[in-house]
Subunit: 397 residues, 2 copies
């Protein structure tokens, strides 16, 4: 769109640079290129193909019908914060206080609040990349600077270079964003890596913003990925950002949570107050149902993703045109096509030639520019067809 002729275009230059320079998502260009193509199989965003299960939707509908349509606690209703404490107790095997949990209007808002608490103009946040682009963008909007620390990418496998990360720490560094299991790479921190990151946090007095939202999606038979919850003390500088989107197929509900030291409660509540002023009660009722009754659905989602992972990994490997490794966690296959280094152009080409939508590695920052991200949280039939199309397209590209 040519904005030069639109009403208000002469005023654009007056806006704050943090707002003006907030980048457009690098995935959106490809989505816009293929959005209207008939039959396209969309594997470009981080979302499955199942709608929210009815036991969750029904809980919200009952609340609406009961007239729960008024203002409520800014920090979330007590019943949901208690359900979060119960869920964490089951998952991590120790007691949690409801006072650690604050309901937000998405995992994204949790990231925004976390960044807002620890960083502003003059500060730096380290992000191992490739990474979800919204992390860096949220840092930019806050006025702080993102310092990308590329992961090591060898033979299609990403590893965290702890020395490189430690060397990137300066007196301006206020935190490290740790996304494990990782979107887009599937990298999943080992306990030893988490201990090393926690040691960096303690040594330098810097924060860990822990995004463990894919923590249930691991494929080695264990119940969950290793978590900072397993190794941290109450006084450690760890803020968890979380969402209901992935485990419970609630991407469209816009509800998440943030977990902080109990002493931070009033600050988080104020930041919620002055950004969205809380979440709808009826949406929170759905979230309670998800936590308390959702384990069967989560297990089904993980089994489905495991099958999707197998189909995609084996199918792409069979082309002999790609470099990849099976992801340890999350629900994305990251891969590079040999001889095709421009992932933006490649993603656009594959929309045209294969009618499959993938996200270009260029969207995720330094370290993965040559790769593509494929979301396999989808039914097997679609994935089998998508892989067949990609095999055919890659044979001629």
């Amino acid at each position: 769109m040519n904005t030069a002729i639109l009403p208000g275009s002469t005023l654009l230059a007056e806006l704050r640079p943090e707002a003006r320079n907030a980048p457009e998502s690098g995935i959106v260009e490809v989505v816009n290129h293929g959005r209207l193509k008939p039959g396209l199989i969309p594997l470009w965003v981080g979302e499955g193909d199942l709608s929210t299960p009815s036991f969750i939707a029904d809980a919200a509908a009952r609340s609406l019908a009961a007239g729960e349509t008024f203002y409520t606690w800014q920090r979330g209703i007590p019943e949901l914060r208690e359900a979060l404490a119960r869920y964490h107790q089951r998952l991590y095997g120790r007691a949690f206080s409801p006072e650690s949990f604050y309901v937000t209007g998405s995992g994204m808002q949790s990231v925004q609040i976390a960044v807002r608490m620890i960083a502003g103009p003059g500060d730096e946040i380290l992000i191992p990349t490739p990474a979800w682009p919204n992390f860096g963008a949220a840092v930019g909007v806050s006025g702080a600077a993102t310092v990308c620390v590329p992961m090591d990418y060898t033979q299609g496998r990403f590893t965290l270079d702890l020395d490189r990360l430690a060397k990137a720490i300066t007196p301006r560094t206020r935190g490290i964003l740790v996304n494990s299991p990782s979107n887009p790479t599937g990298w999943t921190a080992t306990k030893a890596e988490q201990e090393a990151l926690l040691a960096l946090s303690r040594k330098h007095g810097i924060w860990l913003v822990a995004d463990e939202i894919y923590g249930r999606f691991v494929y080695d038979g264990s119940e969950r990925a290793s978590s900072f919850h397993d190794i941290m003390e109450a006084e450690d500088r760890v803020i968890f950002v979380q969402t209901f989107s992935k485990n419970w197929a609630m991407t469209g509900w816009r509800i998440g949570w943030i977990e902080v030291p109990v002493a931070f409660g009033q600050i988080v509540e104020n930041l919620i107050q002055y950004s969205t002023s809380g979440s709808p009660v009826f949406v929170q009722r759905g979230a309670i149902a998800a936590l308390d009754e959702g384990e069967g659905f989560v297990a089904e989602q993980i089994a489905r993703a495991a099958e999707g992972r197998r189909i995609v990994f084996e199918g792409l490997k069979a082309t002999n045109r790609v470099t990849l490794s099976a992801p340890v966690g999350a629900f994305y296959q990251f891969f590079s096509v040999d001889g095709r280094e421009d992932s933006r152009k490649l993603a656009l080409d594959l929309v045209d030639s294969a009618n499959v939508g993938l996200a270009p590695g260029t969207a995720f920052g330094p370290g993965g520019e040559t790769g593509l991200r494929l979301c396999f949280a989808r039914n097997s039939a679609d994935l089998v067809e998508a892989v067949a199309r990609l095999q055919k397209a890659l044979a001629t590209l």
Copy 2:
């Protein structure tokens, strides 16, 4: 709560000052004092006593049942943006483009995005006060400074002192927040006052953030209050922040909109992307029903508020203990009790002695510290009883 002994309390000092210093709402102290009192009539928050009408709730429930639970347009679904354009066309009698409207997660988020676009560290925003405290708090969180410009308060009537406002403009000033009709004062800008404000905006190149969310609540028989929409040109520096909360009894839904020059679209979309990443489709379906089918309900709400205004104004006036004027717009009665200047203490006292919850003027910034705010968007029976209790209490205070 004594935070000194809570986990993480030693880390509080490490947080950003903009986050740490975000104030707790001054209304909350009084609410917490009276929240659990049996029989208390709560007139302290800006919310009516009607739950959302069923034609709105049902539209949301149908969408949920149909599985509309996926990610959607960051700027809002096209159907809602078109409904907003239709609504504006009906109300203001001229054409509007859907491209002017962006769906947000509340009027509060609209304010946050507006502030984020125009102000940051080193900038100043002027706010005529008394004012809704969240305006100034949102400015503070952005790192900019709020400059309060007290309105003139004589014989219980507030007027905007345009000279004082003009004199408060400095080279750092980036905008003026104009809330008309005003919460908490009921002041409603005349067309001449709006023209003067627009002239200041043009002369100094500063923004008007227009909060006209109570624009339908006027009591002189006209359909709506005067609006900047009536006098502005496409190239003027006006951003409208809006909500579904008040007109359609949707406070708990957390949905609003922001109206900006069309050329700002991508910037607003990016700021939504990096704060909450959009609003639920099912909530947006409710909002469409509100706009397209809600005029009867809005009329009912306004008639109810008009009756509430009459009950409260006449009842309080009869005490001969108060100074007040009937509000021109919005649904609050602001009044001072003669001889009682400490409104914080008075509000706490009235919880105890009258079992009526009011908001203290101290919560709204300079200019109204001696007053109290009473929300009359409520059924007549409650208001008659509340006024009777206040009459009795004021006779002995």
